[in-house]
């Protein structure tokens, strides 16, 4: 693990992981985020992941590619990924720059993202709150 404070948090919520990015991450922090998250999917036996990017007002090409990669890796490890909280400006900038967010599932906010996961992961015992 590389040093410095973590600029993201990964919380467990029932069968899901909620990963929040708190501030703009540089490339090495993004890599660390990716490693941590993919590892946690296995150790927590998560069925779904919500990545919350609401705090970000820019998302560069490396970041959006990393998010897409995480989605792919998570799928290989048996979890569905939903990205939530993309700001209007960020959304348009991403499309404008032709960033391929491919098959990544997106939702408005955390609540929506969890609902989306519920519909994807046909897990009969819905998360108890």
């Amino acid at each position: 693990m590389n040093g410095g404070p973590r600029l993201f948090s990964i919380l467990r919520q029932g069968p899901y992981l909620i990963a929040s990015i708190h501030t703009a991450l540089d490339d090495s922090q993004l890599v660390r985020f990716q490693q941590d998250l993919v590892e946690r999917i296995g150790s927590d036996r998560a069925r779904g992941v919500v990545i919350d990017v609401a705090a970000l007002d820019v998302l560069d090409s490396f970041a959006s590619r990393t998010l897409r990669d995480i989605g792919e890796m998570a799928r290989l490890r048996g979890a569905v990924t939903v990205i939530v909280g993309i700001q209007p400006d960020v959304a348009f900038a991403m499309v404008e720059l032709g960033m391929d967010t491919g098959r990544v599932v997106t939702a408005l906010d955390l609540e929506e993202g969890l609902a989306e996961l519920d519909s994807y992961v046909a897990a009969p015992p819905a998360p108890r709150r």
């Binding site: 990205i83 939530v84 993309i86 700001q87 209007p88 400006d89 960020v90 959304a91 348009f92 991403m94 499309v95 404008e96 967010t101 997106t106 939702a107 408005l108 906010d109 929506e112 993202g113 609902a115 989306e116 519920d118 519909s119 819905a126």
Partner: protein, 301 residues
């Protein structure tokens, strides 16, 4: 013949063959035009009707306007100042533009008047060729200036009207209407230019966030046509909405817009389009209802 090279109103008096010098030429000309005012005006109106110009006007209007134009015309010849004419031309344009009078008609009638008057001068002075030349030297530049002034005033007025209309189109904001919970409608009416397309994106993406919309129906029945950049912008907006977790249904695509989208090769697989607003709303409700019933089935009461 260096005397005639200078096309300004005053002609060098040296060796003048006529009994008039440059200063008295124009007043005499004006007096002649005033004297035969009725006959020349009638001739002019005849020529206008012959050329099928200004058909949007009634005979009375035509008679009133032509009298005014004639008097203004002669006045400009007399004083050399186009200010009053400019004012009148602008005023006239304001009245006739809404009635669909075209630029070529306005320019046409002024050129006809120029022609009618020139012919009458020709008739009057044809015996003295040198004098005729000098009269035309005085008349032509002034007449050209008048034609120029009228045409420019008309076009300026038209442009002003166009600008005003563009502003009012822009001011018509793009309304974002919540019709059901999580369902928005954006009716777009009028020409969608680049600026309005940008505004639409801001309203749409902002609306998705504030209303927590899941489905947005964008109705473009009222949009006549789009150009390539606007079409691309529309597709990107749909894409960006998807990133925010909302699906966009576009309704009311005109045949022209459909053609544009296909011709420029936009990736249409991401676009959900439905023929009319009614169908779009039904589809949106189906989308929303479907989600609700599934949630109920899974973990509902």
């Amino acid at each position: 013949m260096s005397r005639y090279e200078d096309s300004s109103v005053t002609v060098a008096p040296t060796g003048a063959t006529g009994d008039l010098d440059g200063d008295t030429l124009l007043p005499q000309l004006v007096a002649h035009l005033r004297e035969h005012r009725t006959r020349l005006r009638q001739e002019w109106v005849g020529r206008i009707q012959e050329a099928h110009l200004l058909q949007a006007m009634t005979t009375q209007e035509m008679s009133a306007e032509t009298t005014l134009v004639y008097d203004n015309y002669v006045e400009v010849l007399e004083t050399g100042s186009v200010e009053a004419l400019q004012h009148y031309a602008r005023d006239l344009s304001e009245r006739i533009i809404p009635r669909g009078v075209e630029t070529h008609e306005v320019v046409g009638i002024v050129l006809l008047l120029r022609d009618v008057l020139a012919r009458s001068l020709f008739e009057k002075y044809q015996r003295d060729f040198a004098l005729l030349n000098r009269v035309l030297d005085a008349y032509e530049p002034a007449a050209n200036r008048i034609a120029n002034t009228v045409a420019v005033s008309f076009v300026e007025e038209r442009e002003r009207v166009i600008r005003q209309q563009q502003d009012s189109i822009r001011e018509l904001s793009t309304p974002v209407l919540p019709v059901r919970e999580r369902l928005l409608i954006l009716p777009i009416i009028g020409v969608l230019d680049r600026e309005r397309a940008r505004q639409l994106t801001v309203q749409l993406l902002g609306g998705i966030r504030t209303h927590r919309a899941k489905v947005v129906v964008v109705d473009i029945t009222g949009v006549p046509d789009v150009d390539e950049s606007v079409a691309n912008h529309l597709v990107r907006t749909v894409d960006a909405s998807r990133l925010m977790g909302a699906s966009v249904i576009i309704t009311g695509l005109s045949p022209e817009i459909a053609q544009t989208l296909v011709t420029i090769g936009v990736d249409l697989s991401k676009m959900n389009t439905i023929g009319d607003l009614q169908g779009g709303l039904e589809e949106a409700e189906r989308l929303l209802g479907y989600a609700v019933s599934r949630e109920d089935g899974n973990g509902g009461p």
